[in-house]
Symmetry: C2
Subunit: 482 residues, 2 copies
């Protein structure tokens, strides 16, 4: 078996080829590797740890709002998919099938879950009898599979990791409140944990989850101007309740169908994170998810080495104790300059340099990965200074991403305007839409952009459909999307 | 679809039918439910949370010893299994196969991982080139599938959850040290977190992991005297390195094969936990994994209700703040006695009762689930008293389980002795073994017991094989096993 070179040696500039840049960065920073299975990637420790930080934070927020985790089988009998018509239409083309097991052909084929509404609906019908059993608030962390034609690491892989929340409620009002609550948790998490500004809104009917009554999303802008749907929350009405007979005896002793929701985010968030924050020097990781938040690099002539490294180790212990994710690179066979480039490429938020002069003055130098700003701070204040700087870098990254989105957001009145705009410029386009599928489809065919969502708070309200020029029912964000 | 009754109404006594007892308890305590997929169960929130506590603690220990998590695809190309002969022989009969996906027949069938040595070996061969890349210390939390003929909730399910550590090292010495280290982490975790005493030892060749050079295990005794293998750690030598060409350039610039290990524990630990600690009143959960550690029950006449519940809520807030997993059951439509039974059945370690008299005296009553001991303690000392009592309950549970094992451990010289012993008594049997597969097989055929392991520290050293009466090479623990 041939050995491959572990690193690509250079990163393609974003402006030259954004797709190449993306692959260069995630390979070189060792976030992932291709696997021998079509469309499946390996999440290497540096990439997986980012997901772990996301997972821990989301899990905490889910539990805070009363949800509990459970685990359902990944195999779904074929007959289950037949029960909800829209659901099977949407997912059937992407299902992998287990047809043989334990040396025998199976009587009924088993799909591997692309999502779990069906099997969870089946179980809920057993668990829910009375209004006293409601609400059911369950989340699952799991792997799912969708046999995609075109794949892209993190953003669209055959197997991926995600969480899927599945809740059941007495009333539509409660279920809609849950749908909104979870969408808002996703927004808050994106902005305040990942430093990714997002647009909250409702999906158009053609972009709805297969089987949903209403789908809501948060949409983020990548540095090539394309959109990533970073999370979705669905109000499923009674559709799965009817398909799986999930009924309860209400407070008036009458049988009713429950109202269900589902909501999820996945490892595609890793792709969004990289494409929102990265630059030509490589990865740039927001402090709250960075596996290493501070890299400490001792500097100076060999005769001072032992003394400097000794002091670095003391400061390391102090930061570590304060819960900061910190590492020391005290290798003597590579230069400080090489290390600077290496950790910039890996996206470490803060570089700490300590040399003989700093020793004398009781100082260290802190450098921000995102702005390049240098701060000389007292060693005696180090933990507070680092904590503050990490918080400031988070804000800085969020503001930069937001400004980028503002700079690449456009507004049009007509399809012609949109076409010429999209030839020259990247980004999101705000436009009016009459609500007809035909007009939406025409936009896609002529510009390559799809409707991302109908924002809750559009920058302006449009009055005319960009295609047919009839009255606009909605103001829509269009964009090319991953 | 027919609605099922949610609860079975009674628990079969252990002495009457241990298997029925087990199923009754796990259903009634809502730890799991059967699924529509053969041999697969649903981990309900009460059961899954126990697994989450186990997972968090193990993950912390793995990271403390330098391991990092990663994630590899669950699909394994058929050709991969052909590369290590023993491995395919062991796992082939249990594999499920994906043969169709995305509407097409696949060119090569994909197995769903029963374990990941093959695909991880393939990736390691790409990542490892030099001794500088070693050791590689990676763990994965994942679902795996083994198409078992006979299944039993938690203990043997078609799909289950586990962690699998996979490491690669320069030398045999290092790899063996890793194998031992992880086995000892499992032992320590079992004893000090799950309150389950275990026997550490080496598996006989016939019970080795398919593809291992040496397999080590920890073995626990259930309350019916049967054994559960609660964790395994394997030294794989060069076998997977040769099969997947995992080579490195050593310090003398020579190509060498790496030495690998793998180690794992799974959701079968849930089954062991229940069968080690449970009794005729139901589940008994060790404090460190119990989803609820303290259940608070207000007591007294309706006129005092508001006042008592108010005080309970204050104490609840205090305990919660101290990080204790506590719940209040202040329902007025069920009696305190009903609640006492309910939470005993659910295995909650401590029941806290507070009534009007306790209010007057500034006291509460604490009752241990495992011993029934009652303590009257001052409300002002509550957090410390509860913390201490949880620790004592842990020790109490461990000591009871250990005493049970001592009471059900036997020692024999001959197969006849063992046969008559196993007809009357349950438990583990220590005996000498010459090392031949034939003798081991005869024990199994005539007693139903298998060799569990060759303990590192047997209670006594046997000199003669129980079957052939030749010189004993090893002293072995035999038992019927799950």
């Amino acid at each position: 078996m041939a050995k491959e070179k572990q690193f690509v040696t250079e990163i393609t500039p974003q402006g030259e080829d954004f797709s190449r840049w993306y692959i260069d960065v995630i390979k070189k920073a060792e976030l992932m590797d291709y696997s021998p299975v079509r469309g499946c990637i390996v999440f290497r420790p540096e990439g997986f740890e980012i997901w772990e930080h996301m997972k821990d934070e989301l899990d905490r927020r889910f539990k805070e709002t009363g949800h509990r985790n459970a685990y359902f089988p990944m195999f779904i009998p074929e007959s289950f998919f037949q029960k909800e018509k829209d659901h099977i239409e949407g997912f059937n083309p992407e299902l992998p099938w287990v047809t043989e097991a334990g040396g025998e052909k199976l009587e009924e084929r088993l799909a591997i879950r692309p999502t779990s509404e069906t099997i969870i609906g089946h179980m809920y019908s057993k668990w829910i009898q009375s209004y006293r059993d409601l609400p059911v608030l369950i989340n699952q962390w799991a792997n799912v599979v969708r046999w995609e034609k075109r794949t892209l690491p993190f953003l669209r892989t055959t197997e991926f990791l995600w969480q899927e929340g599945h809740t059941a409620h007495e009333t539509e009002t409660e279920a809609r409140a849950e749908t909104n609550q979870m969408l808002d948790i996703y927004r808050d998490f994106s902005e305040n944990f990942l430093a990714i500004p997002v647009i909250m809104g409702q999906k158009t009917p053609s972009e709805r989850f297969a089987g949903a009554v209403d789908t809501y999303s948060i949409e983020a802008m990548m540095k090539d101007g394309r959109a990533v749907q970073a999370g979705t929350s669905h109000y499923l009405g009674n559709k799965f309740a009817v398909a799986f007979d999930i009924k309860y005896l209400d407070r008036e002793n009458t049988q009713q169908f429950v109202h269900t929701t589902s909501w999820g985010v996945s490892t595609r968030l890793l792709g969004a994170l990289i494409m929102v924050h990265g630059d030509d020097r490589g990865l740039a990781l927001p402090p709250k998810v960075a596996p290493t938040q501070v890299i400490m690099i001792p500097i100076g002539p060999p005769k001072m080495r032992e003394q400097v490294v000794g002091r670095v180790d003391e400061l390391y212990a102090e930061l570590k104790k304060a819960g900061i994710r910190v590492k020391v690179d005290d290798r003597s066979d590579v230069s400080p300059g090489w290390k600077f480039n290496e950790y910039e490429m890996r996206g470490v938020p803060i570089r700490l340099e300590l040399g003989p002069r700093d020793m004398e003055n009781g100082q260290v130098v802190l450098v921000s990965r995102i702005s390049g700003e240098k701060r000389v701070v007292l060693q005696s204040d180090l933990t507070e200074e680092i904590t503050r700087m990490l918080e400031e870098i988070h804000v800085d990254m969020f503001e930069r991403a937001k400004q980028f989105r503002i700079d690449h957001s456009h507004s049009v009145e007509t399809l012609d305007e949109m076409k010429s705009l999209m030839e020259e410029k990247r980004g999101f386009v705000l436009a009016g839409w009459c609500g007809s599928e035909a007009c939406e489809k025409q936009v896609k065919e002529e510009t390559g952009a799809t409707s991302r969502n109908i924002p809750f708070e559009p920058a302006e309200k449009k009055t005319k459909c960009l295609v047919c020029e009839e009255k606009a029912e909605h103001t829509v964000v269009f964009a090319r999307a991953y």
